[in-house]
């Protein structure tokens, strides 16, 4: 009894941390009540599968944001890596595990290029990644002629197709969750994570306390490249096609998902599992609105609205915390 009351007391104290969970749950309950087929196992399967890619895209930007950087090339990296992996598998017959590994290395290389350019030129990452985004896309279009790779190995396609453990959960969801745990571990229990957050919170102060911020920022972009590449590979598995359309719509998602999840846009703070919930929430709204037969022209409107509400909610949280800490 004591434990339960303590748990409730903790939830009461930290209610703002559970806000997104309650909002997501409320949407699930609402759609379960109003949207035909929402709790259908097939729908749960496709919803979570879609959300898992959304979350991975959010993770990529979350890493950049944590160091007070931004990476507008996540979509281009995702598409480039997906098409590279598709080409390796379809044209060269490379086994898919090796193709995936090489794809992630390509993502890391693209991230390294971004990192080096940002650090060496001292130009804002917004401008650099805007430029490299076009360059990466251009290279991809030139080398592949924008032709999708659709003859993919069964094992690769199974990443999105099959149930796991008898549950309507695609392997992509488990991959996303493991990446979430790894990122949580990196940010909460490794010196690398703490250094990234320190640089993100105040780069000058971090440098004055002896941190080599250039190196840390390059590492951040490499991590972004790896995770964006993974997102591209996962999206290719989800669509069973490694084509240039991958990543074209990631820009808004990449910022919205971590922002909804509570990650600070100005750096120095990440909420890994908030980002997971952010991705699930955007996936849920997209799916639920479609199921409710509300004209799907409203989907974008609702997503924008929820982003505004999330940002407003975040502001309220901060005001509340400031008020309570003053007391």
């Amino acid at each position: 009894m004591g434990i339960i009351s303590r748990a409730f007391k903790n939830i009461g104290k930290n209610w703002y941390r559970f806000g997104l969970f309650f909002v997501t749950t409320a949407f699930w309950l609402f759609f379960a009540w109003r949207a035909t087929g929402f709790l259908n196992s097939f729908n749960i399967f496709t919803l979570l599968r879609f959300a898992s890619v959304q979350v991975m895209v959010g993770f990529a930007q979350m890493i950049a944001l944590s160091a007070a950087e931004m990476d507008l090339s996540v979509g281009a990296i995702g598409a480039g890596v997906a098409m590279f992996v598709g080409a390796l598998m379809q044209l060269l017959g490379v086994p898919y595990p090796l193709a995936i590994l090489l794809g992630m290395l390509l993502g890391a290389t693209a991230g390294f290029v971004n990192g080096i350019l940002v650090v060496k030129t001292k130009i804002n990452s917004f401008v650099i990644t805007l430029a490299t985004s076009s360059m990466f896309s251009g290279i991809m279009f030139i080398t592949t002629k924008a032709k999708a790779f659709t003859v993919l190995p069964q094992g690769f396609v199974d990443l999105s197709r099959v149930w796991t453990f008898g549950l309507p959960i695609s392997p992509l969801v488990w991959i996303m969750l493991v990446v979430a745990i790894v990122l949580y571990f990196v940010y909460s229990a490794t010196s690398l994570g703490r250094k990234i957050l320190a640089v993100g919170a105040n780069r000058r102060a971090a440098e004055m306390s002896g941190l080599r911020s250039s190196k840390i920022r390059i590492t951040v972009f490499v991590l972004v490249g790896i995770v964006a590449g993974m997102a591209g590979i996962m999206d290719a598995a989800r669509m069973e096609s490694a084509g240039p359309i991958i990543g074209t719509e990631w820009l808004l998602t990449s910022f919205a998902v971590p922002a909804i999840g509570g990650t600070s846009i100005s750096g120095g703070n990440v909420v890994v599992f908030g980002t997971v919930l952010g991705g699930i929430l955007t996936g849920t709204i997209t799916n639920g609105v479609l199921l409710m037969n509300v004209s799907n022209f409203f989907v974008n409107f609702f997503l924008g609205l929820i982003l505004l509400l999330a940002v407003g909610f975040d502001r309220l949280q901060k005001a509340y915390r400031e008020r309570t800490s003053v007391k």
């Binding site: 992630m104 096609s241 974008n300």
Partner: protein
């Protein structure tokens, strides 16, 4: 030392993630779930007591275009008429909000979850849409392509679409006739990356070649199927060469409306033009004498016949071994004479295709 630690963490991360992605590929424990309990089971046709016609009341057809476009609008009444005429269950025409494959796929998934068990789609991507088609067919949901085909190999049972080459050929012949068999013409058409554009270009050239030089194709201007490009290129062309041009053939939706508007603005009824599709701008231009005619496609019929075929496929019929995958949904020249009545002609054409389709192309166990 510290840098070595960071590198070690990075390398470990890459390896863990790669192993994870690869390992999950083999972690298949069960095939994908079905949308509803119904679609996997084949619905048996039962004859209604009064008419002896098959009972299709459990067939729920969804028609999903690739994105919003006026071309698809007649599909809605086409589907509604098919529901009425064939006694289909609740069916729906629904368009994604944007021309994005992912938006179309999500819409299809949501319709599957709601129990729609037969799909007519305009592929959002001629290659990549095969993935969702495979997913649907794997769950016992028949799919036909409407308005545009998927690239082979595909599991769509049929593709009902316009024979674009025939349409362009007939349109050019009509223009040549209006010109009195001689003159200089220009061709405005769609995107060169679209394989249909090349077919249209060749068809126009073929019709011109049949005049043995009496008609000259002065220029073919492609990549004008967007408002901005069409406005710029067509108006620039007419400003520079309008006086030397006797005829215009357009084989894409946007240049058709833009060229019709340009001729109206110029007040030029000397230049003869044959357009494509039935945008109100084009139809009004025909009524007012600025256009000779337009080649109307049959999205109404694609939806009507598509829904009918899907109902038969869902109740166990199969395409005959010798049935073609591509079926021409028909095309019609609309001129001043039939501009008020062409919709009825389209319906008659549709009924003609519908009447013979099952016997010609489907094999149904009695």
């Amino acid at each position: 030392m510290k840098s070595g630690k960071s590198t070690f963490i990075l390398l470990t991360l890459i390896t863990v993630m790669a192993v994870l992605l690869s390992a999950c590929g083999g972690a298949a424990t069960q095939p994908a779930p079905t949308a509803t309990s119904a679609p996997t089971t084949q619905l048996k046709p039962t004859a209604t007591a009064q008419t002896g016609k098959p009972n299709f009341s459990k067939i729920r057809v969804a028609i999903v275009p690739g994105g919003p476009h006026p071309y698809f609008l007649p599909m809605k009444p086409g589907l509604a008429d098919a529901v009425k005429d064939f006694g289909l269950g609740e069916s729906v025409f629904k368009s994604p909000a944007e021309w994005k494959l992912d938006a179309q796929n999500q819409l299809i998934h949501s319709l599957m979850a709601q129990g729609y068990n037969a799909f007519g789609i305009f592929p959002g991507d001629a290659n990549a849409s095969n993935a969702i088609v495979n997913e649907m067919v794997g769950q016992g949901i028949p799919v036909v392509a409407l308005g545009g085909c998927l690239n082979q190999p595909t599991k769509t049972s049929f593709c009902l679409a316009t024979d674009v080459a025939q349409s362009a050929y007939l349109g050019t012949k009509a223009l040549i006739k209006a010109l009195g068999g001689k003159g200089k013409i220009v061709h405005f058409t769609g995107f060169l990356v679209d394989p249909n554009t090349q077919k249209r270009i060749n068809a126009v050239k073929k019709a011109v070649a049949e005049t043995n030089g009496a008609v000259q194709l002065v220029e073919t201007i492609a990549d004008v199927d967007s408002q901005e490009a069409a406005d710029q290129k067509i108006n620039a062309y007419l400003a520079a060469h309008g006086k030397e041009t006797d005829g215009i053939i357009t084989t894409a939706y946007v240049p058709s409306t833009v060229a019709a508007t340009a001729l109206r603005n110029l007040g030029d009824k000397r230049i003869k033009m044959v357009g494509i599709d039935d945008d109100p701008i084009v139809l009004n231009a025909i009524r007012d004498g600025y256009l000779v005619g337009t080649m109307v496609q049959n999205p109404y019929g694609q939806a009507y016949v598509g829904a009918q075929v899907l109902a038969y496929l869902k109740t166990g019929c199969q395409p005959k071994a010798d049935a073609p995958h591509y079926i021409d949904s028909g095309t019609l020249l609309v001129t001043k004479d039939n501009v008020s009545t062409y919709k009825e002609e389209v319906k008659t054409l549709t009924k003609r295709i519908s009447k013979t389709f099952v016997d010609k192309y489907l094999s149904c166990s009695k």
